[in-house]
Every structure is written in C-alpha cells, then in structure tokens.
C-alpha cells in the first residue's frame, strides 16, 4: 500500500534547440506492518538492554533487577501515553505535541531536552559497544595466552570516537537507512536473545540460583555517587518512597527510545491505531524479556564477587558464566559482541540522524538560523548541523573518558524531561482539546462534566517525580543537562525572534507535483476501475473523505480524491490555465489535510485536481474517465440533498455514451449517508417488496411447473405488464397509484424525521 504524494519540482532544460531533460521528484510513503514498526522501535529501545541493568546495579545495589522490571512495566504505561498522542497527531513528536498543548516556549524547552537525549545517546551507545568489544578482546587475549590487557574505559572511548566519526562521515555523504535493515538486525538479535535465555535457564537448572533481593530498605545500598546532593541527607534511607524513586531514577535508561514510536506512527499501515497498539505490545514483551531478563539472570548467574568487573559488558559476563565448554562460551560472547556492536553502533547512527532531523525541523520552523541548513558543497547534506551534533558527541566522549556510568547518569536527564513534558502535554490536551479520541490512556472517570484522567495523571506525576528526583541525585546530569538545555533554549529563542523580525513564517504544508495536460484516466492515476471518487473543496470539511476512508478496504478499492476548480465560462476560454491558477496555496492546504487524514488511517489515496465550467459535468466526466463506481461528496450548503441528486441525475443523462452506472453518496457532517444511484441500476428492494415478490413467485411457480421460474422472471413479466398498461390508456391510473404510494411512504417516514 502506498500513498504517493508527489513533491516538487522539475527542471526543464535548457537552451533552444536542445532536447529536454525533465526532472520530477516524487515522495512515496509505503505503509509498514506492525512487526516492522516494532523492529524499528526495538532497535532503539533494545540497545539499552546492553547497559541499563549494570548501570542500575552499580548505583543501587543488588535489588536493581526489580527496579528494571518496574521500569519495563512502567514503560508500557508510558507507551500508552504515546499512543494517545499519536492518535491525535499523526506527525507529532515531542515538539509538536508540547507546542500544541502548552505553547512555543515549553516546546522549545522540550526539544532542548530531547536534543540532550540525542547528543548523549551516541556516546553512551558507542562507549557501551566499545566496552563489549574491548572485553571480548581481553578474553581472547587471555585465552590465547597473550599477556595484554586493554584498558577498558579508554579503549572504549577510542572505539566510540571511531564509530562516531565513521557515522558522521556516512551522514555527511547522506547514507540511506532502511527499515529493512532494522528488521534484519532484530532477526539476529532475536536469535541471540533466544539462545541466551535458553542457556540461562539451563545454567540455573544445573547450578541453581536465587532471585535478587527484594527492594526493601535493607537491600537498597546506594553508591555515594548515586545519591548526588542527597548523600548528606538521611531521607533516602529513612523515607521508602524517596529510596524507591532514586532506584527507579537510576533505572529509567531501560525505557529510552520511546520517541521512535511517534516517528514510525505515520507509516504504520491500516488499521493504524490497532497496529500501533500491537506494535506496542510486541515492544513491551520483547523489551521486558530482554532487558529485565538480562538484569535478573546476570544477578542470578554471575557470582557477586566478579559481577562488578562485567558492569560495562553485562551480557558478555553472563555468557562467560554459563555452564558449558569455555570455547563455546567464548564463541557465544563473540556473537553477543557482534549483535551488541550492530545494535549499539546503529544507535550511534540513529542519534546522529535523529538530532539532524530534529534540528532540521526546528530550523524549518524558523527557530534555528537557516545558516545551519546550508548544504554540503559536494554531498548536499546539512553538514553544519551534523558537525555541531557530532562535535558535541565527541566532546562528551572525551569528557567522560569512556566511563559508561557518568554517561548513563547524564543520559537520563534528557530522556526523563522529554517524557515528562510529553506526559504533561497529553494531560493538558485532555482539557484543552476535550472530545473524542481514538485512544485514551485507561482509567478515566467523570465528575459532572469534568473528566478525571487518573491513568494519565499518574503517569505524568510519576514521570515528573522521577525527573525531579534525578535533579537531586545526578549532579553531573543536572549540571550538564541544565547548561545544555539553557544554551539550546536561548539559541532557539533568539533565532526565532530574528526569524519573526524578518517576517518569515513557516507553514507546514506538503508539496505536490502537478502533472498537467493529461486526461484523468485510471492509468494516469495508477488506480483500478471501480474506484471511489471523493470530491473535496474545503480543508475544514473533509468529513466525506473521512467517512469513505473509514469504510473502504484499500486492497479491494482505490480512492481518488479530486478537487474541482469550477471556473466561470468567461474565464475558461482563451488562454490555458497556468499551474498557479489551478493549484494555489489553498489547494496545497486542502491536499495536505486530505493526505493527513489518509495517513491517520493508513490508507492510500490518489490526488487530482481538474478544472471544470460546471460542477456536475466536471464530476461526472471525471468519474466516467476514471471508471469510478462511486462518487462521494459533502452536503451542499445552499442546495438540498434531493435537489443535488436530481441535478446529478440530469447531468448524468448528458454524458456521452457509454454512460457508467454510478452510486452517489452524499455525506452530512454528522456522518449520515444518503445514497442515490445514477443511471440504470438494480433497485434496492425493501423487505416488504421482497416478500411480495417471493409470494408471487411461489404462487406462479406451481402453475408453470415443471418449467423453472426465477424471481427475476416475475419482475420481468410485471415490468412488461406495467409498460403495456401505461401505453394502453391506463397511464393516469398508474400515476395516481404511484403518487399514493409515495404519499404513504412519506407519511410513514414522517414520525422518524
């Protein structure tokens, strides 16, 4: 399935006398299955399984796996908050949703926090990959009796720098990144996870093991650096809630990567929201088993005495402590390292591409100078943004000197504040934009006319509680995060003011390529005969398109969305219409809204604009040329429905032969549908009429036996009789009977209307 919204452009050559080079750029959005969507999100989310458990245990002790478990469960709730925001904004990341709910200032704050998240994702993933790689090399050296041990942190830092520079260069060149690649990485990762869990179970079965201690007050042993400014206070040790919040605050890394869900939503196929929920469930099960599983099994299998030495590469430590021959374990460690490097290096790339994408979006919005978007002279990419992002990432790696725990602390700042702001925005929107939503976070109650969103409120309060607790316990993160956010926020503010001063206002409209001078045919629009032709004219009244998209199965029927430019007869003659005459900004906005509706439902539409001198002539000509079976339009503000249908019928009679059979559907804003048939068609019989027909058939079938008689034979005879009587002088009698029938019908319907 695809939406083909064509974009811009064309360069028509050149010097007189030379042949033409025509360039057309088309954007093609292919909708993806929920499996593929889940794979894309898991690629980002799953990478944190390689380091989150160890970072949490280092900070809060042996009870850490329970906190990771709690965070994975909480992540499911956070995901439902994302699903609600996706149901409202198809193209909504943090920036868009927060801006819609709470205005531009807080949106800029959120996007600054998100940038901090992206900037940190690269270094933490690169360093983590380096830790796995270096650990494996050291194990190999030991196995080969080579007397060499690489320093873990500095080698990891060098590795991370190398990976970051590699991806910087690839992004400068403009490398492609496909969702197919994400799916393949997830296949390999799944193999690793399955083998790892099976081996873990075998090891536990052979050796026996104990679950990690429950997170009671006695079992929470905070490292001094895990308490930050609270280390001088007794609160973490005396107030259980504070202790738990600190523990959770050190485990939140496990749910980083949720923002990707908002990115993929636009491309999820129909039924969009249900598929997103399925993707959410797949992500939950997978990350729950993988991330929480790693943390629990590591605690159960790796002896306490040696576990700290594997805090940088916990899964490697797990594989080296399985039961089985050493070489086999080393081989599996190699596999783990391969998968880890693939996922984590992929996350480095995702971080660079993601921050480049965010900066491009805010630059388009005018809150970052256009200077940043200047294309690279050789590769055409926004190299200044890439240089800025990668420069900050390299600086971060150097400052951290490859210490994964410092990076982990800092990383949590961006993750938590962007989540918190998103949660607050969705909560605010419950009151600012009340009304119907396709999905709501559960647990909603109503008091009078006021909705109390308990579920959403609890999620938001928890997110803010964790963010605020992290402010006190993570000194490095707080100082670095606040400084970074203030700098970015200030740049955004100043830049926006400058842009506004120059009067440039960004309008978020899709761009369309108008392919002119062609007839509207099924081939020119790549649609099948029997398609539904939906007429649109007002971007605020697309309810007819919404209704058609809701009921249509795109595998069986295509949807053509046509905007008719009705021109006065005087204006239609003479010169040919220019593209600007036919397709102005209004039409661009109209088509953008139409595309947005289609995207929201994950269904294809094919857009077209055509000129006409008379409305119904234009519509029916288009339907005839496109071999449509249905015409759907909204109710007219100045003409009654029956009158509209009558005029359509008259226009149909003027069509050149062969005239198509068409179903005319007129929708009202409430969603009520009025159906009319244009041209000869089989009537829709009422139950009473069918009973009458069947009764006559029963009566006559005995009379003509053994000849076979069908219901249509009865209709045939009846119609011939009626026709004969009309022409045999009983015309007036029949017309009177017909009038009486219509009058009876009207009286019967009156009480209902």
């Amino acid at each position: 399935m695809s939406i083909i919204s064509s974009t811009q452009s064309s360069i028509v050559a050149q010097k007189p006398g030379l042949p033409k080079v025509v360039i057309a750029t088309t954007a093609m959005l292919l909708f993806i299955s929920f499996w593929r969507a889940a794979a894309i999100v898991l690629n980002d989310l799953g990478s944190s399984a390689f380091y989150a458990g160890a970072i949490a245990e280092q900070a809060i002790g042996k009870a850490a796996p329970w906190f990771i478990l709690a965070i994975m469960l909480f992540a499911y709730a956070v995901r439902s908050m994302y699903i609600e925001s996706c149901s409202m904004f198809v193209r909504g990341g943090v920036y868009r949703v927060v801006k819609e709910a709470m205005g531009s200032t807080l949106a800029k704050f959120s996007v600054s926090a998100l940038m901090f998240d992206y900037i940190l994702t690269g270094p933490i993933s690169g360093v983590s990959a380096g830790q796995y790689f270096t650990g494996f090399l050291n194990d190999l050296f030991a196995r080969s009796h080579v007397n060499l041990t690489l320093p873990i942190n500095s080698t990891s830092a060098v590795f991370a720098i190398a990976v970051t520079i590699y991806f910087w260069w690839e992004n400068i060149k403009g490398i492609p990144e496909s969702s197919g690649k994400a799916l393949r990485i997830m296949y390999v990762t799944t193999v690793m996870v399955v083998v790892m869990i099976a081996w873990c179970i075998l090891t536990v079965w052979v050796r026996g093991a104990h679950l990690p201690p429950l997170p009671g007050k006695a079992n929470l042993t905070f490292a001094p650096e895990a308490l930050g400014w609270l280390r001088l206070s007794s609160l973490p040790h005396t107030v259980a809630l504070i202790g738990i919040l600190i523990g959770l605050g050190h485990s939140v890394l496990a749910m980083s990567g949720e923002e990707t869900l908002a990115q993929v939503y636009r491309e999820v196929e129909h039924p969009k929201l249900r598929n997103l929920e399925k993707a959410g469930l797949v992500i939950f099960i997978y990350s729950f088993v993988f991330t929480a599983g790693v943390s629990f099994f590591a605690s159960m299998i790796i002896p306490d005495a040696i576990r700290p030495q594997y805090f940088g590469n916990l899964i490697s430590g797990l594989s080296m402590n399985f039961v089985g021959p050493y070489n086999l374990r080393l081989g599996f460690e190699g596999f783990v390292v391969l998968v880890g490097v693939l996922m984590l290096a992929g996350a480095v790339n995702t971080a660079i591409v993601g921050s480049n994408g965010v900066l491009n979006r805010v630059s388009e919005d005018g809150i970052l100078p256009h200077w940043f978007r200047h294309p690279h002279p050789r590769f055409g990419t926004s190299y200044r943004m890439l240089n800025l992002v990668v420069g900050l990432q390299l600086l971060t790696i150097i400052l951290s000197r490859g210490d994964i725990f410092i990076l982990g602390e800092a990383y949590a700042f961006g993750v938590m504040w962007s989540f918190s702001m998103k949660g607050l925005a969705v909560l605010v929107l419950r009151y600012k934009q009340p009304g119907k939503r396709d999905f709501r976070v559960p647990l909603n109650f109503t008091m009078g006319n006021v909705e109390i969103p308990v579920g959403l409120g609890l999620i938001t309060v928890t997110l803010f509680a964790l963010s605020i607790m992290n402010l006190f316990t993570k000194q490095v993160a707080t100082i670095a995060g606040v400084a970074f956010t203030i700098i970015f926020f200030t740049v955004f503010e100043i830049s926006e003011k400058i842009t506004l001063k120059h009067g440039a206002k960004h309008q978020e409209l899709d761009m369309f390529n108008l392919e002119s001078d062609g007839e509207l045919t099924p081939a020119s629009l790549s649609v099948r005969p029997g398609n539904a032709l939906v007429m649109i004219r007002n971007s605020n009244a697309l309810y007819n398109l919404a209704a058609v998209l809701d009921r249509i199965n795109p595998r069986q029927q295509d949807v053509v969305v046509l905007h008719l430019r009705v021109l006065s007869r005087a204006g239609s003659g003479g010169d040919e219409l220019s593209q600007e005459d036919l397709f102005s900004t209004n039409q661009q906005e109209l088509f953008t809204r139409a595309l947005s509706l289609a995207e929201k439902r994950g269904k294809s539409i094919h857009l077209a604009v055509a000129p006409a001198t008379e409305k119904w002539e234009g519509i029916l000509r288009a339907a005839q040329n496109l071999q449509s079976s249905t015409i759907a339009l909204g109710i007219s503000s100045w003409r009654g429905i029956a009158d509209e249908a009558r005029i359509a019928g008259l226009a149909w009679e003027s069509l050149p032969e062969p005239r198509p059979q068409l179903t005319l559907e007129i929708y009202s804003p409430s969603g009520q549908e009025h159906v009319f048939y244009l041209g000869p068609h089989a009537p829709r019989l009422t139950n009473k009429e069918i009973d009458l027909l069947h009764g006559i058939w029963l009566e006559l079938s005995n009379e003509v036996a053994p000849e076979e008689i069908h219901h249509h034979d009865v209709v045939h005879i009846a119609l011939e009789e009626l026709s004969r009587e009309i022409h045999d002088g009983r015309r007036q009698e029949i017309i009177d009977a017909l009038r009486k029938h219509l009058s009876n019908n009207r009286q019967r319907r009156a009480p209902n209307t």
């Binding site: 974009t7 064309s10 042949p19 360039i23 954007a27 292919l30 492609p176 491009n360 661009q588």
Partner: protein, 174 residues
C-alpha cells in the same frame, strides 16, 4: 534554470517535446528504457547502454533515482537537499541527452526495493549498472529482485565493455 515561483509546485511535462522519429523496430516512441540509479559509475555504464538502445528502438529513457529518507526526516524533506540531487543527476545525464529526451524521476522513499518495485510499470525493460562480483553487490541483488518480479532486466557491469558484457536476465523480444 529558473527557480519555481511557487515553491513546492511546478509543472512537469512528461511527454516528449517533439514527435518521435520513425522507429527502427516498430516498437514506437512509447517504448521506455528504465535505468535505475545505483552508483555513479554504474549509472554511467547503464545510461551509456540505454542511450544506444534507445536510439535504435526510438525509445525514451527514464532514469529512476530512489533516494532513501531516514524516518527521522519527513519523507518530503530529505537530508540531502533536493536541488542538489537534481543538479547532480542533470549533470550525470548531460552527456546522453544530446539527441533524445531523458526523464529523471527522483523518488523519495523509506526503503529502496519496495519503492523501485512500486514505480516501475509491469514487465518493464530495466537497466541496472554496477560492479559484478561474488558475493553479489547491492546492484546485482537489485537486478535479481527486479527480474524475480517479472521485469526484463539487463545488468551492465561497470568494468567490462558494453554492450558485449551485458548480463541479460531475460531477453527483450525481437
């Protein structure tokens, strides 16, 4: 080259500007030779071969350039600027459009293979240029995929003579 007045909207006339000359094989001017942009050198080789074929067959050349846009970007706003891509492609085809029209279609997409499969008409004649070796290159894999979907595909290796070394996945009917 004039900039469009209304950004985002510009007319594209896809039809040949001049009537086609009499064909040498009776296939007529509607015959289209599709070239898929792979690598710079590969596409050069494919275009060179395509231009010879197109002259003989009175065919039109359509160069498809699928450009994969990461999901972090809007599909309509790729990280590589559109103007840059179009300029680069124009300079690429410059040498081959002396006596024929070449249509360049840039397709912004998320995944290369589904995009190419979607844009090509059924049973199209497709030329894919690239390096030929074992294990198979991305270009070879693409050619195989297109062949599997019923297109008539010719793989043009970059390092060998053209068209003597053309690898035909399916022969074009005489």
């Amino acid at each position: 080259m004039a900039e469009p007045k209304n950004p985002g909207l510009f007319a594209v006339d896809e039809r040949p500007a001049t009537p086609a000359s009499p064909s040498c094989n009776g296939l007529g001017a509607e015959f289209v030779v599709n070239v898929i942009f792979t690598t710079w050198h590969g596409t050069h080789a494919a275009l060179r071969a395509a231009s010879r074929w197109a002259r003989c067959l009175d065919a039109r050349i359509v160069l498809w350039s699928p450009q994969v846009v990461p999901r972090q970007f809007l599909v309509t706003a790729p990280p590589v600027s559109r103007a840059f891509t179009e300029q680069r492609l124009q300079s690429l085809v410059g040498a081959y459009c002396e006596d024929m029209e070449i249509m360049i279609r840039v397709c912004l997409c998320r995944d290369l293979e589904p995009c190419v499969l979607n844009v090509l008409e059924p049973d199209s004649v497709v030329l894919v240029g690239g390096t030929k070796r074992w294990p198979r290159t991305r270009e070879q894999k693409l050619a195989c995929l297109l062949h599997a979907f019923g297109h008539r595909v010719l793989f043009i290796p970059t390092k060998e003579n053209v068209p003597a070394s053309v690898t035909t996945f399916k022969r074009i009917p005489n």
